[in-house]
């Protein structure tokens, strides 16, 4: 199968830089699959799972936070604030950040900005838990009281 150059760029590191067969990402408009020779394309990514079919045909999953997907002639790039491979996620750490996020939501009930940030943090934690296979229940943030 034809491969193409793919990169995952985060502020902390370049998580992946190499050739792949297929990339499946979750955009705000729905899931998209990118194969080689895709038309030039750019979309907004939601916090969610990213599936990559490697050069050898193996599938790898990663948890990605909000960001962008960009397809150009040379390469496909995911630019995101955070990304980890499923097997590299520490479930204890993700669980702690979920609890931390819930506490922050509790504390920020009357401040929309802080509540919004805490909600995004919760989404990231839940996404990590679900991608790493340690889903503890609901993926929806709790409703505002």
């Amino acid at each position: 199968m034809t491969t193409f150059h793919f990169m995952i760029v985060t502020p902390d590191k370049i998580l992946f830089d190499g050739d792949v067969q297929e990339v499946i990402a979750r955009t705000t408009e729905g899931d998209v699959g990118i194969l080689a020779n895709h038309t030039r394309y750019a979309a907004i990514l939601k916090t969610g799972a990213l599936t990559v079919k490697m050069e050898n045909g193996d599938f790898r999953r990663a948890a990605v936070a909000q960001g962008f997907l960009k397809v150009s002639d040379e390469r496909t790039t995911v630019i995101t604030t955070a990304a980890e491979w499923a097997e590299e996620i520490d479930p204890d750490w993700a669980e702690r950040s979920r609890e931390d996020a819930l506490a922050k939501i509790e504390a920020a009930q009357n401040e929309p900005d802080r509540l919004e940030r805490a909600n995004l943090k919760l989404q990231r934690a839940l996404n990590r838990l679900s991608v790493s296979g340690h889903n503890t229940g609901t993926v929806q943030p709790p409703k505002k009281k």
């Binding site: 760029v9 985060t10 502020p11 902390d12 590191k13 370049i14 955009t27 705000t28 408009e29 998209v32 038309t39 030039r40 394309y41 750019a42 979309a43 907004i44 960001g67 962008f68 960009k70 790039t77 630019i79 604030t81 955070a82 900005d113 940030r117 943090k121």
Partner: protein, 271 residues
């Protein structure tokens, strides 16, 4: 001397970590900027409030990044000098500067000056992450959207050039004036949901990447400056101790010689 030596060692180890972080964020920032520039170049009638130039000489938001501690040579004063010059310049034209100080030294400095503070951050640089950048970016962009009198947003930070050279400088964050000029080619790209929506999401990520990058870059510069300052302090102290030891030994030897001469002189007088 032990204190300055210890500070030098602490600064070197912090410096290495900070430099790695500063280098890691660069590709992220560059990719974000490139995507933004491509969208702006795509459409000649492209219109965003973040690209448009506003009327001059009204208000300005100045983000000033200094350190949390002193004893780092001219690190803090160089940044504050540039910031103060910007403020004076705008005030002379009748403008209204608003400051966002980052770092204890910047917060202390602007507390006692006649400027408005948008929001102050102290002791954040060492453990900064991209989410701090996003939070700051949202606060700044919110203010920019709400107040059309704000002509631009500038940032004053310290650029790390080499272990012995760190340069304080200012940079315009918003408006993104020369964005469209960088990529004149037209390339048909599909944007979802729309070019405008993608661009509006990109701007906060761009500003966040820029702020976070500037914070870690400044932190690395601060540690490098402190390391150099403390190295010099240690060298000076060593030299001073050597000189003083020499003077002390001379004085001691002089006193002994004097006493001996007196004893010998006294003994001779008795004979």
């Amino acid at each position: 001397m032990q204190i300055t030596k210890a500070m030098e060692l602490v600064a070197s180890s912090k410096f290495r970590k900070a430099k790695d972080r500063a280098e890691a964020v660069r590709p992220f920032f560059e990719q974000t900027y490139k995507l933004m520039a491509e969208i702006a170049a795509e459409d000649p009638y492209f219109n965003s409030q973040f690209v448009h130039k506003r009327t001059e000489n009204e208000a300005m938001i100045l983000v000033v990044i200094a350190g949390d501690r002193g004893l780092a040579g001219g690190f803090n004063s160089n940044v504050l000098k540039i910031a103060q010059a910007k403020i004076d310049e705008l005030k002379a034209k009748g403008g209204n500067p608003v400051v966002m100080p980052i770092g204890q030294k910047a917060v202390d400095y602007f507390e006692h000056r006649e400027v408005k503070i948008l929001k102050a951050y102290d002791h954040v640089a060492e453990h900064a992450n991209i989410y701090l950048g996003i939070q700051m970016a949202e606060e700044i962009l919110d203010a920019y959207k709400r107040h059309t009198s704000i002509q631009n947003v500038e940032i004053v930070f310290t650029n790390y050039v080499s272990p012995i050279s760190q340069v304080a400088q200012s940079m315009q964050v918003i408006p993104l004036t020369n964005l469209a000029g960088n990529h004149p080619r037209k390339c048909a790209v599909e944007y979802e949901p729309s070019p405008e929506a993608v661009f509006d999401k990109l701007v906060p990520q761009y500003v966040a990447g820029l702020l976070y990058g500037a914070i870690v870059e400044s932190f690395a510069s601060e540690q490098a400056a402190r390391r150099t300052a403390m190295e010099n302090a240690t060298d000076n102290a060593t030299e001073m101790i050597e000189n003083l030891s020499l003077q002390y030994n001379r004085a001691r030897q002089g006193a002994i010689t004097q006493e001996l001469t007196e004893i010998v002189g006294g003994a001779n007088a008795l004979e």
